[in-house]
Amino acid sequence: MPMAGDDIVAMIKAAIPDAEVELTDLAGDNDHWAAVVTSAEFEGMPRVKQHQKVYAALGGRMGVELHALQLTTKCPA
């Protein structure tokens, strides 16, 4: 079952409170998402760790219910 966009944003924000999440439905099917996550917590973290932090926020649903999430992480400018 696909994951609703609102749920994705809510879960990320619950785990990373200062995160700004920009979510795009890539295919218009509610199942292929692109997310740009901006948080000060990413400062000084290797990319792999930044992405792992977002995956952790999604509590194991990434790769299962959430099939496709194209992820970009950023620090605030």
């Binding site: 990319r47 792999v48 992405h51 792992q52 995956y55 194991g60 990434m62 790769g63 299962v64 496709a68 194209q70 992820l71 970009t72």
Partner: protein, 110 residues
């Protein structure tokens, strides 16, 4: 270390650049894997691919090995680098090319 971890470690040590993916270089079975292959092709480096769809043990084991929930996964010199999004970011920043500099170039088959 469990058996599957040893198998994965051996694969990542045997080749400098290894991509665990869905499908093969010529027939990627998922958009993200296809993108990862395209990025590596652009760098011109020689790389090995492992089709996780052919091996259930690797398919599940690789996720625990790297603490990463999705496939594809790129390993360089035995180290986990990231999935297709990280590969794209690094490629655009020129970091991936830098990392792969000095690796063997792919032999042209055409």
């Amino acid at each position: 270390m469990s058996n599957v971890n040893e198998r994965i470690a051996a694969m990542t040590k045997e080749h400098d650049v290894v991509l665990f993916m869905k499908g093969s270089k010529l027939f990627p079975q998922c958009g993200f894997s296809s993108r990862a292959v395209a990025i590596l092709d652009h760098t011109g480096v020689e790389f090995e691919t492992v089709d996780v769809l052919q091996d259930m043990e690797i398919r599940e084991g690789i996720k625990a090995y790297s603490d990463w929930p999705t496939i594809p996964q790129l390993y360089v010199d035995g180290e986990f680098v990231g999935g297709s999004d990280i590969m794209m970011e690094m490629f655009e920043a020129g970091e991936l090319q830098q990392m792969l500099e000095g690796k063997k170039a792919a032999t042209s088959e055409s």
